[in-house]
């Protein structure tokens, strides 16, 4: 495994993640069984940032857990570079919704835990590598702080670094910026794009925010409500690097309408079930005609 993976733009160690006909049914005692995923297939292309959007509770996280190997599908399989994988492995690192930094380690210790534990790198090599990444996300001066001493945004950045130090083939991000305020979130997105452009990693990013998806994605996939499958795929061919100027473009508007229509249709289904809203759908359909 090359240690220089984080430097070169299009190294051969970037993986392609394929999810093939995955079905996952949850059976709980005393409750009707719940099909979270039904014959769900999708391909995350090599070196692309694919964003999966869906209403909450639609099975996105289940899909992420299966892709990362924490959960097992009832049928179907997960392939990395054409090779089926089971269980979790260091080729697919996941960044979670809740922070998963180990609270008893400093930022630097967190970031170097993986390589030093596996004995792949000497401590000083690992630290050098981690420091390069930490500096990129503006955490150089915080290397000796404990996670509890950092703000939410800093914790997320430290976690991104920790994952990148492992040099994974695919990175799976399960709503990593959820719970941050919108402004911090936007800054985090900029950091993520910076890291993505520098490493060229394959990324699967899961979110429920359209804005976030539009800002980040090479390709957006909208998931249906339970049972989850991929419903619409939208190529987000907006120019990079993106900043808020991109908002004003016609292409942005088109893509946004397209994703919104698709997502709100799913949302309306949930709300019909939960609360009986009828009109959301009408509004959405109106939005597709500019």
């Amino acid at each position: 495994m090359g240690n220089n993976g984080s430097k070169n733009g299009h190294g051969q160690d970037k993986g392609e993640l394929v999810i093939e006909n995955v079905t996952r049914v949850f059976r709980l005692p005393g409750a009707p069984s719940c099909t979270a995923l039904q014959e769900c297939s999708l391909t995350v292309e090599r070196g692309k940032l694919t964003v999966l959007v869906g209403p909450s509770g639609c099975g996105k996280s289940t899909l992420a857990n299966i892709a990362a190997g924490y959960d097992h599908p009832d049928s179907g399989r997960v392939l990395i570079d054409g090779r089926p994988v089971t269980g979790s492995g260091r080729d697919r690192i996941m960044v979670f919704q809740e922070t998963a930094l180990w609270p008893w380690m400093t930022v630097l210790k967190n970031a170097t835990f993986g390589p030093t534990m596996l004995g792949e790198m000497s401590r000083s090599d690992a630290e050098d590598k981690a420091m390069v990444l930490l500096e990129k996300v503006g955490l150089k001066d915080f290397k000796d702080k404990y996670p509890a001493q950092l703000s939410g945004g800093m914790q997320r950045r430290a976690e991104l670094c920790r994952a990148l130090v492992m040099n994974p083939k695919v990175m799976i991000l399960d709503e990593p910026f959820r719970g941050l305020d919108v402004m911090t979130r936007e800054l985090m997105q900029e950091y993520l794009l910076k890291l993505f452009q520098q490493t060229g990693l394959t990324m699967l990013f899961i979110t429920s925010e359209i804005e976030e998806a539009l800002f980040l994605a090479d390709r957006i996939m909208v998931m249906t409500n339970l049972p989850g499958t991929v419903k619409t795929t939208v190529e987000t061919d907006l120019p990079r690097p993106r900043d808020y100027q991109v908002l004003a473009t016609e292409r942005y508007r088109q893509i946004k309408s397209q994703v919104m229509e698709s997502l709100y249709e799913e949302g309306a289904k949930i709300f019909q079930r939960l609360d009986g809203i009828q009109d959301l759908l009408g509004n959405c359909q109106a939005s597709s005609q500019p």
Binding site: A68, Y70, M94, A100, W102, Y146, A148
Partner: protein
């Protein structure tokens, strides 16, 4: 956020001055003063029930006298050693047991019901059995002390292991950590806060148990000292004993807290 920033920023002298003149400090001092006034009044027979209690000054004099006897300091030493033995033994056995139960389902199934069966028995109910079983009085008192702290620590460690956030373990697993590495590098440090909580509660219980055990079955120690003062109807001595026990308990709690801070540098920061 604004407040947190300012509290650490103010100079010490200012903070001290603000504190001394704050309502909190004045009211606290008033309350403590009031306590001593009531005590004094009670001893002088002005309040019901309390005429048998010696005045604060008599107690202070008795304290002074006690402090000049070797027996008093010997009692401190004896009680402290008993607490230490029992407490340390409880940690040495309880922490691995709790970790084992939390880490291995089969082991938990095997031992937990039995453990739950024994737990509600008050530690002091073990006194006679302990005296019967152990060859010396010293060991039996230490054993009862051990019982007092043991159940608390096990319950806390077990709770701590089961409450480790799933993603902390998952993250390590996805980095390729083996089960052994996960245990030593993730589960153990993640449980330390619970271990420390268990120790904090445990040390309080241990002092309670030691005092009672000494009163019931001991020949030496602070509990015995108090009891002997009672037998001799030396009331100031009883209160000196109580205060000493309180001090001892307080000091040991502080010590445990310091150990906790040392074990958890990441918790100390705020």
């Amino acid at each position: 956020m604004a407040r947190a920033a300012t509290i650490t920023g103010a100079p010490l002298s200012l903070r001290v001055r603000n504190f001394v003149f704050s309502g909190q400090f004045v009211r606290g001092s008033l309350a403590v003063l009031g306590f001593f006034v009531i005590w004094q009044a009670g001893s002088m027979g002005l309040l019901p029930f309390m005429h048998a209690i010696p005045t604060p000054i008599t107690v202070a004099q008795a304290f002074w006298e006690f402090m000049h006897t070797a027996k008093y300091w010997q009692s401190w030493l004896d009680s402290t050693l008993r607490v230490m033995y029992g407490f340390v033994a409880a940690q040495l056995l309880g922490i691995p047991l709790g970790l084992g139960m939390g880490w291995n389902r089969n082991f938990k199934d095997f031992s937990y019901p039995l453990f739950e069966l024994m737990r509600p028995i008050p530690p002091l109910a073990w006194v006679p059995v302990s005296i019967l079983f152990w060859p010396t009085n010293e060991i039996s008192i230490a054993f009862i002390t051990f019982i007092g702290a043991f159940f608390t620590i096990v319950v806390n460690v077990l709770g701590g292991v089961s409450a480790i956030p799933r993603q902390l373990v998952n993250a390590a697993v996805s980095f390729g950590a083996s089960p052994k590495q996960v245990f030593w590098r993730i589960v153990l440090p993640a449980t330390i806060p619970s271990i420390v909580t268990g120790m904090m509660v445990g040390i309080g219980i241990t002092w309670n148990v030691v005092i009672a055990a000494e009163m019931i079955a001991g020949n030496t120690g602070l509990g015995r000292l108090t009891w002997e003062a009672y037998l001799a109807s030396h009331t100031p001595g009883i209160i000196v004993g109580m205060i000493s026990i309180g001090l001892a308990g307080y000091v040991s709690s502080m010590a445990v807290k310091m150990i906790g801070d040392w074990l958890m540098p990441w918790k100390k920061i705020f």
